[in-house]
Symmetry: none
Subunit: 261 residues, 2 copies
DNA sequence: AAGAAAACGCTCAAAGTCGATCAGAACAGA
DNA sequence: TCTGTTCTGATCGACTTTGAGCGTTTTCTT
Protein backbone atom coordinates (compact mmCIF):
# COMPACT_ATOMS: atom_id res chain seq x y z
CA UNK A 1 0.00 0.00 0.00
CA UNK A 2 1.31 3.40 -1.00
CA UNK A 3 2.33 6.06 1.43
CA UNK A 4 -0.63 7.60 3.13
CA UNK A 5 -1.14 10.91 4.77
CA UNK A 6 -2.25 10.81 8.39
CA UNK A 7 -5.69 12.02 7.44
CA UNK A 8 -6.10 9.25 4.88
CA UNK A 9 -5.05 6.72 7.48
CA UNK A 10 -7.60 8.06 9.90
CA UNK A 11 -10.31 7.74 7.30
CA UNK A 12 -9.19 4.24 6.45
CA UNK A 13 -9.29 3.27 10.10
CA UNK A 14 -12.78 4.63 10.50
CA UNK A 15 -13.89 2.84 7.35
CA UNK A 16 -12.57 -0.45 8.65
CA UNK A 17 -14.26 0.25 11.92
CA UNK A 18 -17.57 0.82 10.23
CA UNK A 19 -17.18 -2.30 8.16
CA UNK A 20 -16.13 -4.72 10.85
CA UNK A 21 -17.07 -2.99 14.08
CA UNK A 22 -13.56 -3.38 15.35
CA UNK A 23 -9.98 -2.71 14.36
CA UNK A 24 -6.86 -4.34 15.66
CA UNK A 25 -3.53 -2.60 16.03
CA UNK A 26 -1.49 -5.44 14.55
CA UNK A 27 -3.81 -5.81 11.57
CA UNK A 28 -3.79 -2.10 10.76
CA UNK A 29 -0.05 -1.93 11.13
CA UNK A 30 0.41 -4.72 8.61
CA UNK A 31 -2.36 -3.52 6.33
CA UNK A 32 -1.18 0.08 6.10
CA UNK A 33 2.50 -0.74 6.13
CA UNK A 34 3.23 1.43 9.15
CA UNK A 35 4.54 0.65 12.58
CA UNK A 36 2.30 -0.29 15.46
CA UNK A 37 3.45 2.78 17.28
CA UNK A 38 2.00 5.00 14.59
CA UNK A 39 -1.24 3.06 14.57
CA UNK A 40 -1.53 3.62 18.30
CA UNK A 41 -0.94 7.31 17.86
CA UNK A 42 -3.69 7.44 15.23
CA UNK A 43 -6.01 5.53 17.49
CA UNK A 44 -5.27 7.91 20.33
CA UNK A 45 -6.05 10.90 18.17
CA UNK A 46 -9.32 9.39 17.00
CA UNK A 47 -10.26 8.40 20.52
CA UNK A 48 -9.62 11.91 21.80
CA UNK A 49 -11.83 13.22 19.04
CA UNK A 50 -14.49 10.78 20.20
CA UNK A 51 -14.65 8.86 16.92
CA UNK A 52 -13.85 5.51 18.48
CA UNK A 53 -13.13 3.82 21.77
CA UNK A 54 -9.77 2.30 22.43
CA UNK A 55 -9.58 -1.14 23.92
CA UNK A 56 -6.73 -3.50 24.59
CA UNK A 57 -5.61 -4.78 21.21
CA UNK A 58 -7.27 -2.17 19.07
CA UNK A 59 -10.45 -0.14 19.09
CA UNK A 60 -14.18 -0.52 18.73
CA UNK A 61 -16.95 1.72 17.61
CA UNK A 62 -18.35 4.09 20.12
CA UNK A 63 -21.41 3.01 22.04
CA UNK A 64 -23.70 4.66 19.49
CA UNK A 65 -23.78 1.92 16.87
CA UNK A 66 -23.83 -1.21 18.96
CA UNK A 67 -26.69 -3.63 18.66
CA UNK A 68 -27.17 -3.61 22.39
CA UNK A 69 -28.84 -0.59 23.88
CA UNK A 70 -26.56 2.27 24.83
CA UNK A 71 -29.13 4.72 26.15
CA UNK A 72 -29.01 8.46 26.07
CA UNK A 73 -27.70 9.37 29.48
CA UNK A 74 -24.90 6.88 29.06
CA UNK A 75 -23.88 8.15 25.67
CA UNK A 76 -23.70 11.63 27.08
CA UNK A 77 -21.28 10.58 29.78
CA UNK A 78 -19.07 8.83 27.28
CA UNK A 79 -18.16 11.92 25.27
CA UNK A 80 -14.48 12.51 24.78
CA UNK A 81 -12.84 13.65 28.02
CA UNK A 82 -11.59 16.88 26.52
CA UNK A 83 -15.06 17.81 25.34
CA UNK A 84 -16.48 17.15 28.75
CA UNK A 85 -13.81 19.36 30.28
CA UNK A 86 -14.52 22.18 27.83
CA UNK A 87 -18.22 21.81 28.46
CA UNK A 88 -17.73 22.04 32.18
CA UNK A 89 -15.62 25.15 31.86
CA UNK A 90 -18.13 26.78 29.53
CA UNK A 91 -21.03 25.88 31.80
CA UNK A 92 -19.32 27.95 34.48
CA UNK A 93 -20.11 31.04 32.44
CA UNK A 94 -23.82 30.46 32.76
CA UNK A 95 -25.81 31.81 35.68
CA UNK A 96 -29.31 31.07 36.83
CA UNK A 97 -31.97 32.98 34.96
CA UNK A 98 -29.93 33.66 31.86
CA UNK A 99 -31.09 33.17 28.33
CA UNK A 100 -28.62 31.02 26.45
CA UNK A 101 -28.24 29.99 22.83
CA UNK A 102 -26.54 26.76 21.79
CA UNK A 103 -25.81 25.91 18.20
CA UNK A 104 -25.57 22.36 16.97
CA UNK A 105 -22.43 20.34 17.58
CA UNK A 106 -20.97 17.60 19.70
CA UNK A 107 -19.25 20.05 22.02
CA UNK A 108 -22.39 22.08 22.63
CA UNK A 109 -24.20 18.78 23.08
CA UNK A 110 -21.82 17.97 25.91
CA UNK A 111 -22.39 21.46 27.27
CA UNK A 112 -26.13 20.93 27.26
CA UNK A 113 -25.70 17.91 29.48
CA UNK A 114 -24.02 20.11 32.07
CA UNK A 115 -26.73 22.77 32.06
CA UNK A 116 -29.85 20.81 32.88
CA UNK A 117 -29.61 21.64 36.56
CA UNK A 118 -29.24 25.39 36.23
CA UNK A 119 -32.52 26.97 37.32
CA UNK A 120 -34.63 29.43 35.33
CA UNK A 121 -32.65 28.98 32.15
CA UNK A 122 -34.08 29.91 28.77
CA UNK A 123 -32.35 27.86 26.12
CA UNK A 124 -32.50 28.45 22.39
CA UNK A 125 -31.03 25.86 20.08
CA UNK A 126 -31.27 24.63 16.52
CA UNK A 127 -30.37 21.07 17.42
CA UNK A 128 -33.20 18.63 18.12
CA UNK A 129 -30.76 16.41 19.99
CA UNK A 130 -29.72 19.20 22.31
CA UNK A 131 -33.35 20.10 22.88
CA UNK A 132 -33.98 16.48 23.73
CA UNK A 133 -31.35 16.62 26.46
CA UNK A 134 -33.27 19.38 28.18
CA UNK A 135 -36.66 17.80 27.55
CA UNK A 136 -35.69 14.55 29.17
CA UNK A 137 -34.06 16.33 32.09
CA UNK A 138 -37.53 17.70 32.72
CA UNK A 139 -36.51 20.74 34.72
CA UNK A 140 -39.73 22.72 35.08
CA UNK A 141 -37.97 26.03 35.65
CA UNK A 142 -36.27 25.86 32.26
CA UNK A 143 -37.70 26.95 28.94
CA UNK A 144 -36.39 25.39 25.76
CA UNK A 145 -36.99 26.96 22.39
CA UNK A 146 -36.20 25.03 19.26
CA UNK A 147 -35.70 27.05 16.12
CA UNK A 148 -37.44 25.55 13.13
CA UNK A 149 -35.96 24.68 9.80
CA UNK A 150 -34.57 21.86 7.75
CA UNK A 151 -32.18 19.46 9.38
CA UNK A 152 -28.65 19.01 8.09
CA UNK A 153 -26.83 15.68 8.43
CA UNK A 154 -25.10 17.03 11.51
CA UNK A 155 -28.40 17.59 13.25
CA UNK A 156 -28.69 21.35 12.81
CA UNK A 157 -31.92 23.06 11.84
CA UNK A 158 -31.13 25.65 9.18
CA UNK A 159 -32.72 27.68 6.43
CA UNK A 160 -35.14 30.59 6.33
CA UNK A 161 -37.24 29.34 9.21
CA UNK A 162 -34.24 29.09 11.50
CA UNK A 163 -33.03 32.52 10.47
CA UNK A 164 -36.43 34.09 10.99
CA UNK A 165 -36.73 32.54 14.42
CA UNK A 166 -33.30 33.69 15.52
CA UNK A 167 -33.95 37.19 14.19
CA UNK A 168 -36.84 37.52 16.61
CA UNK A 169 -34.88 36.46 19.67
CA UNK A 170 -32.22 38.00 21.83
CA UNK A 171 -30.15 36.09 24.31
CA UNK A 172 -27.59 37.01 26.96
CA UNK A 173 -24.97 34.58 25.80
CA UNK A 174 -24.43 32.34 22.83
CA UNK A 175 -22.24 29.23 22.82
CA UNK A 176 -20.94 28.05 19.51
CA UNK A 177 -19.21 24.88 18.53
CA UNK A 178 -17.22 25.27 15.33
CA UNK A 179 -15.54 22.94 12.89
CA UNK A 180 -12.29 24.81 12.47
CA UNK A 181 -10.45 27.97 13.40
CA UNK A 182 -7.42 29.71 12.01
CA UNK A 183 -5.95 33.19 12.28
CA UNK A 184 -6.72 34.05 8.65
CA UNK A 185 -10.09 32.40 8.14
CA UNK A 186 -11.53 32.74 11.62
CA UNK A 187 -14.22 30.26 12.63
CA UNK A 188 -15.42 27.96 9.88
CA UNK A 189 -17.82 25.11 9.21
CA UNK A 190 -18.18 22.75 6.22
CA UNK A 191 -21.83 23.62 5.67
CA UNK A 192 -22.93 26.95 4.20
CA UNK A 193 -26.39 26.84 5.65
CA UNK A 194 -25.05 26.10 9.09
CA UNK A 195 -22.65 28.99 8.77
CA UNK A 196 -25.58 31.23 7.99
CA UNK A 197 -27.52 29.96 10.97
CA UNK A 198 -24.50 30.38 13.22
CA UNK A 199 -24.12 33.98 12.13
CA UNK A 200 -27.76 34.51 13.05
CA UNK A 201 -26.99 33.02 16.44
CA UNK A 202 -24.22 35.51 16.98
CA UNK A 203 -26.34 38.42 15.83
CA UNK A 204 -28.96 37.58 18.41
CA UNK A 205 -26.58 37.37 21.35
CA UNK A 206 -25.01 40.00 23.57
CA UNK A 207 -21.99 37.84 24.33
CA UNK A 208 -20.32 35.29 22.10
CA UNK A 209 -18.52 32.23 23.41
CA UNK A 210 -16.84 29.79 21.05
CA UNK A 211 -16.15 26.32 22.40
CA UNK A 212 -13.59 24.33 20.42
CA UNK A 213 -11.24 21.55 21.37
CA UNK A 214 -7.57 21.87 20.47
CA UNK A 215 -7.86 19.78 17.31
CA UNK A 216 -9.93 22.50 15.66
CA UNK A 217 -6.99 24.88 15.43
CA UNK A 218 -5.51 25.09 11.95
CA UNK A 219 -8.57 23.64 10.24
CA UNK A 220 -10.49 25.66 7.68
CA UNK A 221 -13.98 24.56 6.72
CA UNK A 222 -15.74 25.53 3.53
CA UNK A 223 -17.46 28.56 4.88
CA UNK A 224 -16.55 31.25 7.35
CA UNK A 225 -18.89 31.94 10.24
CA UNK A 226 -17.03 34.94 11.60
CA UNK A 227 -13.51 36.24 12.09
CA UNK A 228 -11.73 35.40 15.31
CA UNK A 229 -12.39 38.81 16.87
CA UNK A 230 -16.14 38.21 16.71
CA UNK A 231 -15.79 35.95 19.73
CA UNK A 232 -15.74 37.50 23.18
CA UNK A 233 -14.62 34.31 24.87
CA UNK A 234 -12.95 31.17 23.56
CA UNK A 235 -12.98 27.99 25.61
CA UNK A 236 -10.41 25.47 24.45
CA UNK A 237 -7.98 22.85 25.71
CA UNK A 238 -4.43 23.51 26.86
CA UNK A 239 -3.25 20.81 24.46
CA UNK A 240 -3.49 23.55 21.85
CA UNK A 241 -0.58 23.93 19.46
CA UNK A 242 2.17 26.07 21.00
CA UNK A 243 1.92 29.68 19.96
CA UNK A 244 -1.74 29.40 19.06
CA UNK A 245 -2.79 30.90 22.36
CA UNK A 246 -0.82 34.07 21.68
CA UNK A 247 -2.38 34.45 18.24
CA UNK A 248 -5.85 33.85 19.62
CA UNK A 249 -5.38 36.34 22.42
CA UNK A 250 -4.59 39.06 19.93
CA UNK A 251 -8.13 38.79 18.59
CA UNK A 252 -10.13 37.44 21.51
CA UNK A 253 -10.47 39.17 24.87
CA UNK A 254 -10.72 36.06 26.98
CA UNK A 255 -9.18 32.72 26.15
CA UNK A 256 -10.00 30.04 28.71
CA UNK A 257 -7.84 26.94 28.74
CA UNK A 258 -8.88 23.71 30.39
CA UNK A 259 -6.06 21.58 31.77
CA UNK A 260 -4.98 18.64 29.65
CA UNK A 261 -6.64 15.35 30.59
CA UNK B 1 -14.59 -16.42 13.13
CA UNK B 2 -11.75 -13.94 13.20
CA UNK B 3 -9.91 -12.92 16.30
CA UNK B 4 -12.14 -10.90 18.49
CA UNK B 5 -11.37 -8.16 20.89
CA UNK B 6 -12.66 -8.62 24.41
CA UNK B 7 -15.31 -5.97 23.92
CA UNK B 8 -16.54 -7.70 20.80
CA UNK B 9 -16.85 -10.93 22.70
CA UNK B 10 -18.82 -9.19 25.41
CA UNK B 11 -21.22 -7.83 22.87
CA UNK B 12 -21.52 -11.17 21.17
CA UNK B 13 -22.32 -12.79 24.49
CA UNK B 14 -24.97 -10.21 25.27
CA UNK B 15 -26.47 -10.65 21.82
CA UNK B 16 -26.68 -14.38 22.27
CA UNK B 17 -28.20 -13.80 25.64
CA UNK B 18 -30.84 -11.55 24.21
CA UNK B 19 -31.61 -14.04 21.49
CA UNK B 20 -31.82 -17.22 23.51
CA UNK B 21 -32.24 -16.03 27.08
CA UNK B 22 -29.22 -18.03 28.20
CA UNK B 23 -25.66 -18.85 27.26
CA UNK B 24 -23.46 -21.81 28.06
CA UNK B 25 -19.78 -21.64 28.80
CA UNK B 26 -18.90 -24.65 26.66
CA UNK B 27 -20.95 -23.40 23.74
CA UNK B 28 -19.41 -19.94 23.83
CA UNK B 29 -15.94 -21.37 24.18
CA UNK B 30 -16.39 -23.48 21.08
CA UNK B 31 -18.26 -20.78 19.18
CA UNK B 32 -15.76 -18.02 19.81
CA UNK B 33 -12.71 -20.22 19.62
CA UNK B 34 -11.42 -19.31 23.05
CA UNK B 35 -10.78 -21.27 26.17
CA UNK B 36 -13.45 -21.84 28.77
CA UNK B 37 -11.38 -19.96 31.27
CA UNK B 38 -11.61 -16.83 29.17
CA UNK B 39 -15.33 -17.25 28.73
CA UNK B 40 -15.69 -17.44 32.48
CA UNK B 41 -13.67 -14.30 32.89
CA UNK B 42 -15.89 -12.51 30.39
CA UNK B 43 -18.99 -13.74 32.17
CA UNK B 44 -17.60 -12.53 35.47
CA UNK B 45 -16.92 -9.10 34.04
CA UNK B 46 -20.41 -8.83 32.59
CA UNK B 47 -21.95 -10.12 35.80
CA UNK B 48 -20.07 -7.50 37.81
CA UNK B 49 -21.34 -4.87 35.42
CA UNK B 50 -24.83 -6.17 36.06
CA UNK B 51 -25.49 -7.14 32.45
CA UNK B 52 -26.23 -10.77 33.23
CA UNK B 53 -26.49 -13.28 36.06
CA UNK B 54 -24.11 -16.17 36.29
CA UNK B 55 -25.45 -19.64 36.87
CA UNK B 56 -23.78 -23.00 36.91
CA UNK B 57 -22.93 -23.85 33.33
CA UNK B 58 -23.36 -20.41 31.89
CA UNK B 59 -25.42 -17.27 32.45
CA UNK B 60 -28.93 -15.95 32.09
CA UNK B 61 -30.46 -12.56 31.59
CA UNK B 62 -30.49 -10.34 34.61
CA UNK B 63 -33.65 -8.91 36.09
CA UNK B 64 -32.99 -5.54 34.43
CA UNK B 65 -34.11 -7.00 31.07
CA UNK B 66 -31.74 -5.35 28.66
CA UNK B 67 -34.42 -5.53 25.99
CA UNK B 68 -36.02 -2.41 27.42
CA UNK B 69 -34.80 -0.06 24.72
CA UNK B 70 -36.13 -1.20 21.38
CA UNK B 71 -37.94 2.04 22.20
CA UNK B 72 -39.16 3.97 19.23
CA UNK B 73 -39.42 1.48 16.44
CA UNK B 74 -41.16 -0.93 18.72
CA UNK B 75 -43.56 1.57 20.18
CA UNK B 76 -44.58 2.40 16.66
CA UNK B 77 -45.33 -1.23 15.89
CA UNK B 78 -47.11 -1.61 19.17
CA UNK B 79 -49.49 1.25 18.54
CA UNK B 80 -53.08 0.24 18.82
CA UNK B 81 -54.14 -1.72 15.74
CA UNK B 82 -56.89 0.79 15.08
CA UNK B 83 -54.39 3.62 14.87
CA UNK B 84 -52.26 1.68 12.44
CA UNK B 85 -55.32 1.05 10.31
CA UNK B 86 -56.30 4.72 10.36
CA UNK B 87 -52.75 5.70 9.51
CA UNK B 88 -52.71 3.32 6.57
CA UNK B 89 -56.00 4.67 5.27
CA UNK B 90 -54.83 8.26 5.66
CA UNK B 91 -51.53 7.52 3.96
CA UNK B 92 -53.52 6.49 0.92
CA UNK B 93 -54.53 10.12 0.45
CA UNK B 94 -50.92 11.15 -0.06
CA UNK B 95 -49.29 11.10 -3.46
CA UNK B 96 -45.67 11.41 -4.47
CA UNK B 97 -44.43 14.98 -4.67
CA UNK B 98 -47.04 16.45 -2.34
CA UNK B 99 -46.36 18.82 0.50
CA UNK B 100 -47.89 17.49 3.67
CA UNK B 101 -48.37 18.88 7.16
CA UNK B 102 -48.58 16.65 10.22
CA UNK B 103 -49.43 17.99 13.63
CA UNK B 104 -48.28 16.32 16.80
CA UNK B 105 -50.07 13.26 18.12
CA UNK B 106 -49.85 9.51 18.38
CA UNK B 107 -52.07 8.96 15.36
CA UNK B 108 -50.10 11.27 13.12
CA UNK B 109 -46.98 9.61 14.50
CA UNK B 110 -48.27 6.30 13.23
CA UNK B 111 -49.08 7.99 9.94
CA UNK B 112 -45.53 9.27 9.63
CA UNK B 113 -44.24 5.73 9.86
CA UNK B 114 -46.28 4.85 6.76
CA UNK B 115 -45.03 7.77 4.70
CA UNK B 116 -41.29 7.36 4.76
CA UNK B 117 -41.26 5.51 1.44
CA UNK B 118 -43.32 8.03 -0.54
CA UNK B 119 -40.94 9.83 -2.89
CA UNK B 120 -40.48 13.58 -3.20
CA UNK B 121 -42.55 14.40 -0.17
CA UNK B 122 -42.21 17.70 1.64
CA UNK B 123 -43.26 17.24 5.24
CA UNK B 124 -43.97 19.99 7.73
CA UNK B 125 -44.50 19.07 11.33
CA UNK B 126 -44.31 20.57 14.78
CA UNK B 127 -43.39 17.28 16.42
CA UNK B 128 -39.70 16.48 16.89
CA UNK B 129 -40.57 12.82 17.23
CA UNK B 130 -42.36 12.74 13.91
CA UNK B 131 -39.46 14.58 12.32
CA UNK B 132 -37.18 11.94 13.78
CA UNK B 133 -39.14 9.21 12.02
CA UNK B 134 -38.38 10.82 8.67
CA UNK B 135 -34.79 11.64 9.57
CA UNK B 136 -33.96 8.09 10.46
CA UNK B 137 -35.70 6.74 7.38
CA UNK B 138 -33.13 8.78 5.49
CA UNK B 139 -35.08 9.10 2.26
CA UNK B 140 -33.05 11.57 0.25
CA UNK B 141 -35.97 12.62 -1.91
CA UNK B 142 -37.94 13.85 1.08
CA UNK B 143 -37.67 17.24 2.74
CA UNK B 144 -38.63 17.61 6.36
CA UNK B 145 -39.32 20.98 7.89
CA UNK B 146 -39.67 21.29 11.62
CA UNK B 147 -41.49 24.35 12.89
CA UNK B 148 -39.73 25.93 15.83
CA UNK B 149 -41.21 26.76 19.18
CA UNK B 150 -41.56 25.58 22.72
CA UNK B 151 -42.37 21.96 23.33
CA UNK B 152 -45.49 20.92 25.19
CA UNK B 153 -45.60 17.73 27.26
CA UNK B 154 -47.23 15.97 24.33
CA UNK B 155 -44.26 16.71 22.11
CA UNK B 156 -45.72 19.57 20.08
CA UNK B 157 -43.78 22.69 19.25
CA UNK B 158 -46.01 25.69 19.85
CA UNK B 159 -45.91 29.42 20.48
CA UNK B 160 -45.10 32.44 18.37
CA UNK B 161 -42.23 30.76 16.56
CA UNK B 162 -44.41 27.87 15.44
CA UNK B 163 -47.15 30.24 14.33
CA UNK B 164 -44.76 32.44 12.40
CA UNK B 165 -43.26 29.43 10.65
CA UNK B 166 -46.63 28.02 9.66
CA UNK B 167 -47.80 31.42 8.44
CA UNK B 168 -45.01 31.39 5.89
CA UNK B 169 -45.81 27.96 4.52
CA UNK B 170 -48.50 26.48 2.37
CA UNK B 171 -49.11 22.80 1.94
CA UNK B 172 -51.37 20.66 -0.22
CA UNK B 173 -52.82 18.64 2.61
CA UNK B 174 -52.77 18.76 6.36
CA UNK B 175 -53.33 15.77 8.65
CA UNK B 176 -54.48 16.50 12.15
CA UNK B 177 -54.77 14.28 15.15
CA UNK B 178 -57.18 15.62 17.70
CA UNK B 179 -58.05 14.90 21.29
CA UNK B 180 -61.81 15.00 21.05
CA UNK B 181 -64.71 15.71 18.68
CA UNK B 182 -68.40 16.40 19.21
CA UNK B 183 -71.19 17.90 17.13
CA UNK B 184 -71.42 21.05 19.26
CA UNK B 185 -67.77 21.74 20.10
CA UNK B 186 -66.11 20.42 16.96
CA UNK B 187 -62.47 19.30 17.22
CA UNK B 188 -60.82 20.03 20.55
CA UNK B 189 -57.56 19.59 22.43
CA UNK B 190 -56.65 20.05 26.09
CA UNK B 191 -53.89 22.53 25.36
CA UNK B 192 -54.59 26.09 24.26
CA UNK B 193 -51.24 26.60 22.64
CA UNK B 194 -51.60 23.43 20.65
CA UNK B 195 -55.04 24.49 19.54
CA UNK B 196 -53.56 27.71 18.27
CA UNK B 197 -50.81 25.86 16.42
CA UNK B 198 -53.33 23.47 14.95
CA UNK B 199 -55.42 26.35 13.64
CA UNK B 200 -52.28 27.68 12.00
CA UNK B 201 -51.77 24.28 10.42
CA UNK B 202 -55.26 24.38 8.95
CA UNK B 203 -54.82 27.93 7.71
CA UNK B 204 -51.74 26.92 5.78
CA UNK B 205 -53.30 23.94 4.03
CA UNK B 206 -55.50 23.60 0.98
CA UNK B 207 -57.13 20.41 2.24
CA UNK B 208 -57.84 19.37 5.81
CA UNK B 209 -57.86 15.77 6.98
CA UNK B 210 -58.64 14.92 10.59
CA UNK B 211 -57.52 11.51 11.79
CA UNK B 212 -59.22 10.32 14.97
CA UNK B 213 -59.98 6.88 16.32
CA UNK B 214 -63.51 6.05 17.46
CA UNK B 215 -62.79 6.77 21.13
CA UNK B 216 -62.43 10.48 20.40
CA UNK B 217 -66.13 10.91 19.63
CA UNK B 218 -68.05 12.59 22.41
CA UNK B 219 -64.96 14.04 24.09
CA UNK B 220 -64.52 17.77 24.50
CA UNK B 221 -61.09 19.13 25.33
CA UNK B 222 -60.40 22.51 26.88
CA UNK B 223 -60.03 24.39 23.69
CA UNK B 224 -61.64 24.25 20.29
CA UNK B 225 -59.44 23.93 17.25
CA UNK B 226 -62.20 24.24 14.69
CA UNK B 227 -65.83 23.25 14.10
CA UNK B 228 -66.55 19.94 12.42
CA UNK B 229 -67.20 21.49 9.04
CA UNK B 230 -63.67 22.84 8.87
CA UNK B 231 -62.50 19.34 7.99
CA UNK B 232 -62.69 18.18 4.41
CA UNK B 233 -62.01 14.56 5.26
CA UNK B 234 -62.30 12.58 8.48
CA UNK B 235 -60.57 9.25 8.82
CA UNK B 236 -61.93 7.19 11.70
CA UNK B 237 -62.78 3.64 12.74
CA UNK B 238 -66.03 1.82 12.09
CA UNK B 239 -66.30 1.02 15.79
CA UNK B 240 -67.70 4.51 16.10
CA UNK B 241 -70.80 4.99 18.25
CA UNK B 242 -74.03 4.26 16.32
CA UNK B 243 -75.49 7.37 14.73
CA UNK B 244 -72.25 9.29 14.96
CA UNK B 245 -71.42 8.71 11.32
CA UNK B 246 -74.67 10.38 10.21
CA UNK B 247 -73.97 13.42 12.37
CA UNK B 248 -70.43 13.67 11.11
CA UNK B 249 -71.49 13.36 7.49
CA UNK B 250 -73.77 16.35 7.87
CA UNK B 251 -70.73 18.54 8.45
CA UNK B 252 -67.93 16.74 6.67
CA UNK B 253 -67.85 15.93 2.98
CA UNK B 254 -65.94 12.72 3.21
CA UNK B 255 -65.94 10.37 6.16
CA UNK B 256 -63.66 7.39 5.68
CA UNK B 257 -64.22 4.40 7.92
CA UNK B 258 -61.63 1.71 8.43
CA UNK B 259 -62.96 -1.78 9.15
CA UNK B 260 -63.00 -2.84 12.79
CA UNK B 261 -60.00 -4.92 13.85
C1' DA C 1 -26.66 -42.09 49.01
C1' DA C 2 -22.49 -42.77 46.56
C1' DG C 3 -19.85 -42.28 42.61
C1' DA C 4 -19.11 -40.24 38.03
C1' DA C 5 -19.10 -36.35 35.27
C1' DA C 6 -19.13 -31.73 34.53
C1' DA C 7 -18.18 -27.09 35.89
C1' DC C 8 -15.62 -23.87 38.60
C1' DG C 9 -11.88 -20.76 39.74
C1' DC C 10 -7.13 -20.28 41.54
C1' DT C 11 -2.43 -19.89 39.97
C1' DC C 12 1.36 -19.40 36.77
C1' DA C 13 3.96 -19.06 32.62
C1' DA C 14 3.74 -17.56 27.89
C1' DA C 15 2.18 -14.48 24.55
C1' DG C 16 0.54 -10.24 23.25
C1' DT C 17 -0.05 -5.27 23.96
C1' DC C 18 1.08 -0.65 25.63
C1' DG C 19 3.28 3.84 25.95
C1' DA C 20 7.60 6.53 27.08
C1' DT C 21 11.65 7.83 24.92
C1' DC C 22 14.88 8.88 21.48
C1' DA C 23 16.86 9.23 16.98
C1' DG C 24 16.20 9.55 12.15
C1' DA C 25 13.34 11.04 7.99
C1' DA C 26 10.23 14.15 5.64
C1' DC C 27 8.72 18.59 4.95
C1' DA C 28 7.73 23.70 4.86
C1' DG C 29 9.25 28.30 5.24
C1' DA C 30 12.94 31.56 5.22
C1' DT D 1 20.29 25.73 1.13
C1' DC D 2 19.46 25.82 6.02
C1' DT D 3 16.58 25.44 10.09
C1' DG D 4 12.99 24.20 12.89
C1' DT D 5 8.88 21.47 13.07
C1' DT D 6 6.29 17.39 12.45
C1' DC D 7 5.87 12.70 11.67
C1' DT D 8 7.67 8.17 12.02
C1' DG D 9 9.86 3.79 13.62
C1' DA D 10 12.81 0.94 16.91
C1' DT D 11 13.76 -0.38 21.61
C1' DC D 12 12.45 -1.71 26.08
C1' DG D 13 10.33 -2.31 30.55
C1' DA D 14 5.67 -2.58 32.44
C1' DC D 15 1.28 -4.22 32.04
C1' DT D 16 -2.75 -7.14 30.38
C1' DT D 17 -4.72 -11.05 28.50
C1' DT D 18 -4.82 -15.84 27.71
C1' DG D 19 -4.87 -20.92 28.25
C1' DA D 20 -3.49 -25.18 30.75
C1' DG D 21 -3.00 -27.73 35.05
C1' DC D 22 -5.27 -29.09 39.09
C1' DG D 23 -7.81 -29.34 43.34
C1' DT D 24 -12.57 -28.10 44.79
C1' DT D 25 -17.51 -27.62 44.22
C1' DT D 26 -21.82 -28.57 41.93
C1' DT D 27 -24.88 -31.43 39.33
C1' DC D 28 -26.39 -35.70 37.40
C1' DT D 29 -26.81 -40.72 37.40
C1' DT D 30 -27.37 -44.98 39.24
Amino acid sequence: MAEMLPQQRHRHILDELNKYGQVRVTALSHELGISEMTVRRDLNALATAGDLVKVHGGATRGPSATSSEPGFARKLGLAAPEKEALAHRAAGLIEAGMSVALNSGTTTYALAGQCTDIPDLTVITNSPRIAEVFYSADNASQTVILTGGIRTPSDALVGPLALAALAQLHVDICFMGVHGMTAEDGFTTPNMLEAQANRAFMASAAQHVVVADHSKWGITGLCQIAPLDAADVLVTGSALAPGAVEILEQSIDTVLLTPAP
